[in-house]
């Protein structure tokens, strides 16, 4: 943390003043740094291929029984399905196909939807990005705004109320909160009328396209799932930002800034917030990396047709190619964004450049 950093030597100060890249030595440093990080990302991806396959292969399941349950099915049909789904192959052979297919960009074929996994993921990507994107943006700004203010004046009324509320909401099971909001704002409760739809992304029977009515309709369907996510996750941004702000307040540079006659607001905004921002940046990148996986519980509660809900559907069979495909895409997304975060750090934090 900044507060525990030793005072910088004159040489270090000079190093900080120099541009982050451009110099021969700096460029080589960057390339070396990039190569290390890329190598780590590739190793992580290889590891997740193995882990993804092993986890889902070990999962107790009988997909053929689940698919044909309650349906008149002969032994011949079941044998055909087992062969068609590749369940008669030895595990090592299935793993070989899985790795080969993945590396050639083929994520397999969903058993239950009878559609290529990549097509299914592409179909569900936009709803997930819309839901997770909107909820992340609101959560980040709400959480950080509250975190900055509550951390600047710890113990104040705003700090006590907002921190209490954030921790309470963070502790609430997402599924439960979703159901409560559903009952209150979709069914209507007491004087509160039914305001928002109970599920889906658009009102059935209405015209699609980019018409204002349709956009408004999607926005209306978005409110409850987005609100549920925001209420649960804004706390993490608030608490981390608050903690960083409190840590910063013990530093001598604040006294210097105040001694220069800067207003309180300016000291906070121009000096403290920038220094307290790094942990939140880490969190934002982690969140953005995981964004693609959607929110399984929220998407399931509100029948939001995104990737989280798709994963839930895959788990019910279980549809192994779909589970493996989504797992790879989700994990790769996290790896890529972690890599990006490492690269951005070099620009945001001079100490990383020197590391």
């Amino acid at each position: 943390m900044f507060s525990t950093a030793a005072p910088l030597s004159p040489q270090e100060l000079v190093a900080l003043e120099s541009p982050p890249t451009g110099g021969g030595s700096g460029g080589r440093d960057f390339l070396s740094y990039l190569a290390r990080k890329l190598a780590a990302a590739v190793v992580s991806f290889g590891g997740l291929l193995v882990v993804g396959f092993v986890i889902f292969s070990l999962m107790p399941s009988d997909p053929v029984a689940a698919l044909t349950r309650g349906h008149v099915t002969s032994a011949k049909q079941m044998a055909f399905l087992i062969k068609q789904l590749g369940l008669n192959q030895p595990v090592w052979e299935r793993f070989g196909h899985f790795v080969t297919n993945t590396l050639t960009g083929n994520l397999g074929y969903s058993w239950q939807f009878q559609t290529p996994v990549s097509t299914l993921i592409a179909q569900r990507l936009w709803p997930t990005l819309l839901l997770m994107g909107s909820s992340t943006i609101v959560s980040v700004f709400l959480g950080m705004w509250l975190g900055i203010r509550s951390g600047w004046r710890p113990g104040s009324l705003l700090d006590r109320t907002s921190t209490g509320a954030a921790i309470t909401l963070w502790s609430v099971p997402t599924f439960w909160l979703g159901i409560i909001l559903l009952v209150v704002f979709s069914t209507g409760l007491g004087p509160i009328p039914s305001l928002f739809p109970a599920g889906g992304m658009s009102t059935p029977g209405t015209a699609g396209g980019l018409t204002p009515a349709h956009v408004l309709d999607i926005a209306r369907h978005l409110v409850l799932p987005c609100l549920t996510l925001v209420l649960v996750i804004f706390a993490q941004y608030q608490m981390i930002m608050r903690s960083s702000m409190i840590d910063e307040q013990g530093n001598a540079y604040l006294l210097t800034a105040k001694a220069k006659g800067l207003r309180d607001d300016d000291v906070r905004r121009k000096h403290v917030v920038p220094n307290a921002l790094l942990p939140s940046v880490t969190l934002i990148f982690l969140q953005v990396g995981g964004m693609i996986s959607g929110a399984i519980t929220v998407e399931t509660v509100y029948s939001w047709p995104g990737l989280g809900y798709l994963t839930y559907q895959a788990l019910q069979i279980p549809d192994l190619p779909l589970l493996e495909g989504t797992f790879i895409v989700f994990s790769a997304s996290v790896i890529i964004f972690n890599l990006l975060a490492d690269l951005v750090y070099r620009y945001l934090d001079p100490r990383v450049r020197r590391a």
């Binding site: 100060l13 900080l16 003043e17 399941s61 009988d62 053929v64 029984a65 689940a66 349906h71 008149v72 099915t73 002969s74 032994a75 011949k76 079941m78 055909f80 239950q112 009878q114 179909q123 569900r124 909107s134 609101v138 203010r149 705003l158 159901i179 009952v183 979709s186 069914t187 009328p193 039914s194 305001l195 739809p197 109970a198 599920g199 889906g200 992304m201 658009s202 059935p204 029977g205 408004l216 309709d217 926005a219 209306r220 409110v223 540079y253 210097t256 207003r263 309180d264 607001d265 121009k270 920038p274 220094n275 921002l277 998407e299 509660v301 029948s303 047709p305 559907q313 069979i317 945001l348």
Partner: protein, 618 residues
Amino acid sequence: MKIPQLALEPARRTARNIAGAVLGLTLAGGLAVAAVAPAAQASPSSDSTLRVEADTAFSTFNPFLAYFDADLNVIGNIYPTLTTLNQQGVAEPYLATSWTNSANKLTWTFKIRSGLNWSDGVPITAGDAAWTFNLIMHNSTAATANGALVGNFASVTAPNATTLVITTKQPEANMLYVSDPITGIPIVPEHIWTKEVSNLGNFKNMTFPVVGYGPWIATGYVTNQYATLTANKSFFMGAPKFHTLIMQYFSNGDAAVAALRSGQISEIDDLTATQYEALKSNKDIQLVPSVSNGWTAIELNPGAQTQSGKHFGNGNPALQDPRVRDAIEMAINKQELVTKIWDGLAVAGAGYLPPAYPQFQWTPPASGSLAYDPAKANALLTSAGYKMGPNGIRIDPKTHQPVVLRLGIHSDETSDAQMAPYLQEWLHAIGIGVDVQSMSFNELNAELPKGDWDMLSDGWGTGPDPTYLLSIQTCGDLPTSTTAAGNTDAFFCNKSYDNLFSQQSTEFAPAQREQTIDQMQQILYQNAVDVVLYYPDNLGAVRTTDAKDFFYGKPNAQGFYPQQNLFINWSSATPLASADASSSSSAAVWIVIAIVVVAALAGAAIVIRRRSTATERE
């Protein structure tokens, strides 16, 4: 000391401004949407649209591949079948106007209705039916969903446009149920599907409007959300009363109930008892409990074995003793389960076939009844040599081990979790310990063929022809090897039962067949491999402000309606003028609320701003 700055000042200020703008706009936007959008919502009744809950998610409208209920419900209403089922579940003419069976019972001749056209104008002929059946018989991919239904077919031909001849290998008493709506084989237009045969496994049949024939035409599908059907105004049995039917899937049952309460959908089924009770106070909703076509049971492992008689699995050997299984059946108070778990919205279990089809209903005779009688169960175990151990658990005389049985229940079934403690208590009362193991549906499914279980929660349903449900108890459905999954329900194998099963499949006189099936149920009951706990009602509900005549029939003495059929329900439902005047008033209420909230936010921002500069002012 120079303070490290993270970004240039103008950029940071801009970012901050953007942040504030985004946050403010998002909050204000959400409120504005809430205020404005209800007015933009389409009225459910103005366009004569029936909105119903889809039972499952949608996967494909390809009738050769479809397994899930939502797909089957669509397919059953957009393609014709040879017969249809009336309100009593009896087969009646549909595409076939009449039929005859040869003296040797092997050749069925169907007269196909003339003058009907597919939705693209091409005439429907017997050739379409023959082509459909033959494709399923000879193409493994086409047999994916319905191959078992033509397993006994030797040949299918269409000598002319109005005659279909089906020859079977063995007499088939249930022929009239092979091609009926939703559960049977739909007939597809040859001129459309012949082009898709080479790619049948990948064809989802979702190019709209789908060419077919039925009361409805599939006209749209929004991925993972809903399907749209439009009424076929020229349907020969009478056009549906609604113009449009929308089936919307909710992944969460409580969300579907919320949608029904608020009028977003008009009909729902498969309610839980709790949801059903909660809806009772709503005057706009008619609740319809219909007699069950399925049951919930506890399977008792009589010893897993292959068709060749090789035993495997680690089932408790005590359950191989039929007296132990009978004692377990007698120890369970099924009526109390109905009262406590289902609030009386179920029927206590007895025979193997559910009460939806009265012709197959079988009641145990008083002499051989295994009705609730813990004293008798205790006496039976004592007389069989199972002495009581020191901790109230009996000792198996063969293994000298306490009789403690594993009970696998579905972790995702509320009723299973409710039922387990009762079973624990009742079985302990007869000296049998129960170790409850909660498993996911998939885990439980995976355990079953391995034979590594003692007692499992189980549930099955059936259409009006019970052949398949009866078949899963035959020796022929045991696995062929210890690693192969057979269709067997609980590793039951009884030669007398198998003989009766073969006999009923060739009995064409209904009364005679029913008598044979009664005998089969008697054997199953006595062997107590499936202890049928109860038949839960199908709990449906419809908004009386939106539609009438959705459900049919009259309630019986217990208040249960007859088994419902969506093919009839969707066509008979009639639109009503909806009192949908609340939209504008609720919009007005929310505009006011939005203004108040935005004003409060603005006030809070001003206060915070003032506080932030307080030090300077002081």
